[in-house]
């Protein structure tokens, strides 16, 4: 990827939280990746692996402990609050729980035009017009929904509102943190199709966080698999699904429920061991406690992310 195509560059990003007298939690450790213009990157991993912390660090909510995040070559991590604020319209986020991310007292229309109001863009009439236009674009009839409040909407409709609100500032980057995890499968499909449509028609770059690889496959060009604060495999969707190299990626793939009553899920490849906690200071590979391929050297040296094929990176001493 040459520099002109790169929208987002994340380098050596780390996020740590103080944990009282027990030291510090390393939620994200030394993560680097690029995201191209118009590209959709899926970020997958279990709860607690640092996906959301990474997303928030990219959004500068709060700022990361160390490392840099650059959008269009502009280092967000080096900007002061006022300059960061002026760039915010270019990167927006939608959250997992759609109802909780909307003000229950505010009408849907007011919620969607709020970003423009905050930025002081346009007059009231124009803001209303733009909000109505955006509602129609995300599949909410403005006549029916403009004056409603979040409690009168279903989960799927609330998520459409979140998407509309995030798109109002015409962002280049949309960070989606588990946007469909709390929705029914039937509604999930609607929201995924909507995200695909807006991504393609607006040329957005998407960072899409999920613990479900099957969904990522439908939406994303590339996948980054995260385990305990680090990336363990990054690959184009095709390569990751046809030939996953990291044992953890394989386990994630094997866990997806199949629509086939004859499919007997093979007993999980994962060892029953307890995963390390992000509180531990870990020598060697952080996945080794659950890894069926772990050998002696895994306990000694931490594997680095290395390129093993076109755009296919894996951090494992013994990839399959």
């Amino acid at each position: 990827m040459n520099d002109a195509d790169t929208l987002l560059r994340v380098e050596n990003l780390a996020v740590e939280f103080p944990a009282g007298n027990r030291g510090r939690v390393r939620a994200v450790a030394d993560v680097s990746f690029d995201l191209a213009r118009g590209e959709a990157l899926g970020l997958v991993g279990e709860s607690g692996c640092g996906k959301s912390s990474l997303a928030r660090a990219i959004m500068q909510l709060p700022r990361p402990t160390s490392g840099t995040v650059a959008l269009d070559g502009e280092k967000l991590t080096a900007l002061d609050a006022a300059n960061l604020r002026s760039l915010r319209p270019r990167f927006q986020m939608i959250f997992q729980n759609p109802a909780a991310s909307l003000n229950p007292l505010r009408t849907i229309g007011r919620a969607i035009e709020a970003p423009l109001r905050t930025l002081g863009r346009h007059d009231a009439a124009e803001r209303t017009r733009l909000a109505r236009e955006m509602m129609a674009a995300v599949g909410l009839d403005p006549l029916q929904f403009y004056e409603r409040r979040p409690s009168q909407l279903s989960g799927g409709q609330c998520q459409r509102v979140s998407i509309a609100r995030a798109l109002m500032t015409e962002p280049r980057l949309l960070v989606c943190d588990e946007p469909v995890s709390s929705l029914d499968v039937s509604i999930q499909a609607q929201i995924i199709n909507l995200l695909r449509e807006v991504q393609q028609t607006r040329g957005l770059s998407l960072l899409f966080i999920s613990h479900d690889l099957a969904i990522v496959r439908h939406l994303c060009d590339r996948v980054a698999v995260m385990y305990l604060g680090k990336l363990c495999e990054v690959a184009p969707v095709g390569a990751l699904f046809s030939a996953p190299r990291h044992p953890y990626s394989r386990a994630l793939l094997a866990a997806i429920p199949r629509l086939d009553p004859k499919h007997r899920p093979a007993a999980s490849d994962l060892l029953p061991g307890e995963p390390f906690s992000p509180m531990d200071s870990i020598e060697g590979c952080s996945f080794r406690a659950r890894c069926p391929r772990a050998r002696e050297d895994c306990a000694v040296q931490q594997p680095e992310l290395c390129e093993i094929g076109a755009g296919h990176l894996v951090a494992c001493h013994h990839p399959s």
Partner: protein, 330 residues
Amino acid sequence: MSEPLLVVDKLSVHLPCGDRIVRAVDEVSFTLQRGQTLALVGESGSGKSMLCRAIMGLLPGRARLPAPGRIVFAGQDLGVLKASERAGLCGRRIGMVLQDPLSALNPVMKIGRQIAEPMRHHLGMTRVQARERSIELLRAVGIAQAETRIDCYPHQLSGGMRQRVVIAIALACEPQLLIADEPTTALDVTVQAEILDLLARLQRERNMAMILVSHNLGVVAGRAHETAVMYAGRVVEQAPTAELFARMRMRYTRALFDAIPRLDDPAQAMLTAIGGQSPDLAALPGGCSFAPRCARAEERCSDQAPMLVSDGHARHRYACWFPCAVGATA
């Protein structure tokens, strides 16, 4: 075949809501044999949870069960039991696993006490007996170092571990029927597979009957003997699971199936979403309640409600005027 463990016969659950009546469950009938698993599948608001709560006896106080609906458990009509007799079943002979393991546990009580509670209450065990048995149960649900973990508070455990604790509580009195209401919806995929495998193993080992509720057909595919698909309070298709997947007839079942992202589709293909919303249960349309969202619906569908009928194949019933052609699903 021996007498079924559970018979649900024309069961309806009505919830008065202002001057309207929400028909949460509408004339649902099924039977469940010992050692069998029945899956209930459907969207939010399809009545799955209300049905489970009706069997468990945990309906909200204003709920009404209109005649002639009956629930018969082990030969006993639950409708005629006194409240105290009913309470004696709940947690003892019928166990329940709820969706969200964090809100199902008391955050200020050690998990050991929470597992011991039903055994102390129903079986009259002493504190020491119950603690010993709690440790055994924690081991049975796959928690390592059970002797020390028993003194943990819920917040000290991961989501998957908490759900194992909730399962241990449900199993404490060796119930004959286990109701698992979306037991893995709040969990990660890797943990989901582990918990479903655990439930299947426990169900086999203890010869329990199980009702497994999910909104995802993929979750129940390899794990239930029989599957019932619910929509707007009614069962709209029911069959042995393998038969259902091989020959889906009802259009809603098919739509639910198609909405799930699959690993064998071309990557990045559009998903087939079900348009619209599930209907308002206080103002159900006449006719088939899925008709407003169904691509195949004709006039007849909005006039006349289809009955649940058999198509001649063993125990396969569906309610649809224009069913999918046999063999349309692979």
